[in-house]
């Protein structure tokens, strides 16, 4: 079993590194293979909205950078874990840049999911997605927004994502407890 962890933490972020480390540690006890991608250290250009990945080179972005290898690894994983500072209820721009570049894994043709129109899936199987957000202090409205964004992202992949927001968690023991709870909920077993 393989897990891919996308670390969307910025340089100045104090909370996300703890969440990432403890998530990696928790995954390491349940998986054979855990790959960490610190997005701030990768060359990942932002999506240009050209739709070349659907209409020029179907399934592959026309931009040749690190995002291609991340996507290859994503498709080969059993679990994908996003870790990000919650940014106005959304993802950090680092993680968002990678997620915007993930649309090649979808087929452009439309289908109906949960009563709404979404895109068809390109692959037969996708990793189960788990999202861990970090917030410095309680902010229920931002947490609610983040949770609903994650749920909507799940619809795009025709699955249910699992999410948790760590509020003000700086000690490793608490971060580990949350990571374990989240993995239990997502059905990640040793």
């Amino acid at each position: 079993m393989k897990a891919l962890v996308l670390d969307g933490g910025r340089e100045c972020d104090l909370l996300t590194p703890v969440a990432v480390l403890e998530m990696i540690s928790a995954l390491g006890e349940r998986m054979d293979d855990v790959e960490l991608v610190p997005l701030r250290e990768r060359a990942i250009a932002m999506c240009t909205g050209c739709f070349g990945c659907w209409t020029r080179t179907p399934g592959e972005c026309v931009q040749k950078d690190d995002a291609r290898e991340v996507l290859r690894s994503y498709v080969a994983s059993d679990f994908a874990v996003y870790v990000t500072p919650v940014t106005f209820g959304g993802y950090s721009s680092l993680l968002k840049a990678m997620l915007d570049r993930c649309i090649p894994v979808l087929d452009p043709r439309f289908t109906v999911v949960g009563g709404e129109v979404h895109h068809r899936l390109r692959y037969r199987r996708y990793p189960k997605t788990i999202v861990l957000g970090t917030l410095p202090s309680p902010d229920p409205e931002t947490e609610r927004l983040f949770t609903s964004l994650v749920a909507r992202n799940g619809l795009n992949l025709h699955q249910t994502f699992e999410a948790e927001v760590l509020v003000g968690v700086t000690d490793p023991a608490s971060a580990r407890r949350y990571a374990d709870q989240l993995l239990d909920r997502a059905g990640v077993t040793a």
Binding site: M46, T55, G89, D100
Partner: protein, 222 residues
């Protein structure tokens, strides 16, 4: 009144976001508002340019974000700009309270798929001390071409919504509910949009001389 139109689409002036945003800007100008325009991703290319754009945000009475929905949210370029604006939070807050309005369109038929993106913009406004003026959100963005007159019904609902919104924002009021409702109205039946969209992808593939089938799986195992 000074307004700033920020285009959050990486396609810049060739985008549906610009088509909609510039029409709103025209309406604001008709009501005596001075409107500056900027393509966000171009201003992120250097710290100096970003700094100048943030100064412009500080000195505006109204900021309008026009962008396409990317993965249920804002394009990464726009997210990065908002992060940088918060990095200078004191300046934005202390320079007064510019108001923030949003125009967002998505490629799915349902306008409500834009709700999380609108919520994110609203939280940004609240985090930085900007006033929240509201949002226009629409689906079926894939049918927006370069000319409103080619849309079903001549794009009347969209144009009326933008005119109403321009008048209201110029009068320092919020985006009217009637404008939100008109803007969100579907341009055509859902089945027609999805059928046309599916055909459109094939036609674009042919134009691009794509060598792979539409459902090709470059990263499939085995």
């Amino acid at each position: 009144m000074n307004a700033l139109l920020l285009i959050g689409s990486p396609k810049g002036k060739k985008s549906a976001s610009y088509m909609l945003g510039s029409k709103l800007a025209d309406g604001l100008r008709d009501h005596g508002v001075t409107v500056h325009e900027a393509i966000v991703h171009q201003e992120l290319r250097s710290e100096e340019k970003t700094g100048r754009l943030l100064d412009l945000v500080d000195s505006s009475d109204l900021v309008v974000l026009a962008f396409p929905l990317y993965v249920d949210s804002l394009p990464a370029q726009l997210t990065r700009f908002l992060e940088q604006a918060v990095g200078r939070g004191d300046r934005v807050t202390h320079a007064g309270r510019p108001r923030l309005a949003v125009i967002v369109q998505c490629g799915f038929p349902e306008a409500h798929q834009c709700d999380t993106a609108v919520g994110i913009c609203r939280r940004f406004a609240e985090s930085t001390g900007l006033g929240w003026a509201g949002a226009l959100a629409m689906g079926m963005g894939g049918s927006l071409g370069e000319d409103f007159r080619k849309l079903p019904g001549g794009g009347k609902n969209i144009l009326d919504a933008l005119h109403m919104t321009a008048k209201s924002l110029a009068g320092e009021c919020d985006v009217p509910d009637e404008a939100k409702s008109l803007f969100a109205r579907q341009l055509m039946p859902r089945w027609l949009y999805t059928m046309g969209g599916n055909l459109g992808w094939r036609l674009q593939m042919r134009e691009n001389k794509a060598k792979r089938p539409i459902g090709y799986r470059p990263y499939a195992q085995g």
